[in-house]
Amino acid sequence: MTIDLWYAIVGSIIVALSVFAFLTSRHLMKKLLAFNIMGSGVFLIMVGLPQHQHGVDPVPQALVLTGIVVAVSATALALVILRRYVRAGGNPAP
């Protein structure tokens, strides 16, 4: 087993852990965090798996870079919506 395959396996473990956290936690903020960490696990798989086959691969790295920026802005938008929801009287932990 190479170190790159190990990255992909750790990525799968992170995805599974955050699926668990996403399903068990009630607070919306925690769900958002779990979803973010799930994304990080996917990024780790996306970088690790191609590296295992052909060495350092710029194409998935560029795609992951794109994904990180989209994830950051989507998280910021989710936080804005969450705050607006709380200020409108919603309960973040139903």
């Binding site: 699926v19 194409v59 989209v70 950051v72 802005s73």
Partner: protein, 229 residues
């Protein structure tokens, strides 16, 4: 559903996910195309010396264009959800002299570093997104220290948010006038056009992240945050 049942169900789903993912990772089929080799072969004509920047802004620039569009949609939604009092919520804060002094010394450094990162993207790790993240960090620090840049220039802010996408789309479409396909750079101009796009993208990405932060609704909830989880 009771709490223990919920945890057990979530545990089963998580284990199933883990099992499926690890099976998929271990039994992944060999790739038919050797992508690193393809990139290395075509790097010469991309106008850029660094493979990741070449992939981002030349070989797969469609992804980057759509990503900038996603950022624009996110910030437009964020701006639509802002509250009128959110702009003045923090202005009276942070009269801390230490924070002010630190910010005044830190901001120019952050901006210079972001220009360096942007420039280095053509031959080393770096580029528009990393530089844009630094610009955004500078804006967030300025905001926390009480400098309210965003609300002073509202029209300029909106123009800046859309500027990156507009310029990228203009360059992409303008190639079609010469009979070339969409998102194809003219011969010999690729390097300078990519740098121009990256510079404007840095500005727009930084502004997008800053305005999502600045225009977020205030933190005081009317009910008080009760977390019983």
């Amino acid at each position: 559903m009771s709490r223990s049942l919920r945890i057990a169900a979530a545990g089963i789903v998580a284990f199933g996910t883990l099992y499926a993912l690890i099976l998929a990772v271990l039994n992944a089929p060999q790739m038919q195309v050797n992508l690193p080799q393809q990139v290395a072969l075509n790097l010469e004509q991309s106008g850029i010396d660094h493979p990741i920047t070449a992939v981002l802004l030349n070989f797969r620039s469609y992804d980057t264009l759509l990503e900038v569009a996603v950022l624009l949609v996110a910030v437009v939604t964020g701006l639509a959800l802002r509250e009128r009092d959110a702009l003045t919520a923090h202005t009276e804060q942070a009269r801390d002299p230490m924070l002010h002094a630190l910010t005044r010394r830190l901001l120019p450094l952050l901006l210079i570093t972001s220009v360096y990162i942007l420039w280095s993207g053509s031959y080393a790790p770096g580029g528009a997104f990393q530089a844009g993240a630094l610009v955004a960090a500078a804006g967030v620090i300025a905001r926390l220290a009480g400098y309210d840049i965003a609300s002073r220039a509202d029209v300029l802010l909106r123009l800046g948010l859309a500027l990156g996408f507009i310029l990228f789309l203009t360059v992409a479409v303008s190639a079609m006038f010469g009979g070339r396909p969409f998102l194809n750079y003219p011969e010999g101009w690729a390097g300078s056009l990519i740098f121009l796009i990256e510079a404007v993208l840095t500005f727009s990405i930084g502004l997008t992240l800053i305005s999502l932060f600045v225009h977020a609704p205030g933190d005081s909830s009317p009910r008080g945050g009760d977390d019983d989880d």
